[in-house]
Assembly symmetry: C2
Homo-oligomer: 187 residues x 2
Amino acid sequence: MEIDQILNNIYPLPESSKSVIKKYISEISYPKGHILLRADKIETSIYFIKKGIVRAYANSADNEITFFFGKEGDTVISMKSYVANEKGYEDIELLEHCDLYELKTQNLQQLFEKDIAIANWGRKFAEQELIKTEERLIFREFRTAKERYIELLTNNPDLIKRVQLGHIASYLGITQVSLSRIRAEVK
Amino acid sequence: MEIDQILNNIYPLPESSKSVIKKYISEISYPKGHILLRADKIETSIYFIKKGIVRAYANSADNEITFFFGKEGDTVISMKSYVANEKGYEDIELLEHCDLYELKTQNLQQLFEKDIAIANWGRKFAEQELIKTEERLIFREFRTAKERYIELLTNNPDLIKRVQLGHIASYLGITQVSLSRIRAEVK
DNA sequence: AGGAAAATTTTACAAATGATAAAAAATACG
DNA sequence: CGTATTTTTTATCATTTGTAAAATTTTCCT
């Protein structure tokens, strides 16, 4: 997906503001398996996915939990670094070879102070991510694991093709064994 | 909590911008039990809590889930109405008599377009809510119900005194019976 | 204070999910 | 193509959490 479309999908920007942002954006590619963002670091860039798929996962003592998948058009960001300038809780791993647009957070922060259209674009970006996160938080509680799987299968069929089931299970909040049981039932 | 402090806690604003916002803010009180925001409505106001405590809950066919408590200094908002101008998924009920500051969304939206400091204040507001929501989504998965209860007890001891346990249980993602079991163990 | 209503706890049983281990299947790669 | 590795499935048993109903405690109202 091209950068113009990605920026506009978040919030329509006047051409002049869009050009200003694009001056600070560069393209970069990394291979499958590359760790793009690290939990123990204050990250200084955000990325938009041109092509490919990534996952965000957090670690605790004994297990690892995948809580986000990003694909074409999505933003890859350590929210904690971006918002609070503190290290985050997640690593982000590329699950395929990825073509990315990179933007230095610092440059964007400066634009927020100077360009009201960009400030409102940044506001809309946060608001939309918030809605998505809130919906996941709420609706997780209303559905059984089986329903959550079926919903993912319906809304995001390609995800299940592109991502291994262990990660999907973790994203759904269950073990891989449970997911296997569910898949056997649903089929 | 006074409105100046609430606004500043979100993001420090120049006095001039703060005065502009305050022109559109009025005070209002409602009794315990009042439903402040409704799931089936596009809400046109947001509120800041001067005094009191509220809960947000969503309904599905068979059960009701509390997913947010707000107290002094917190913002009460139908995020879906505010962000997307669509009806939300939650009712908000006052659990005590509440003194509130009310701000019409429409007025705020207009200020976003005119005042860059206010636009960035709105951005920071969304970003901070996002961080809080994301943390809840992630850390819920890492802790057992018992750990989540103990954490709430530690970080928010007054909540457990002010709110009935059925709501707390729902917030923790467990049944009231489970919470009772946990409380019997922990004591 | 007294009694009704609401909230909380307890108990018994059922269902869902987890842990572990091992087999089967799919994939990667020399 | 064949072997090693990874991923997925299957089976068993243990644990957690849920459901329902009764018992107890607290709150609220007159």
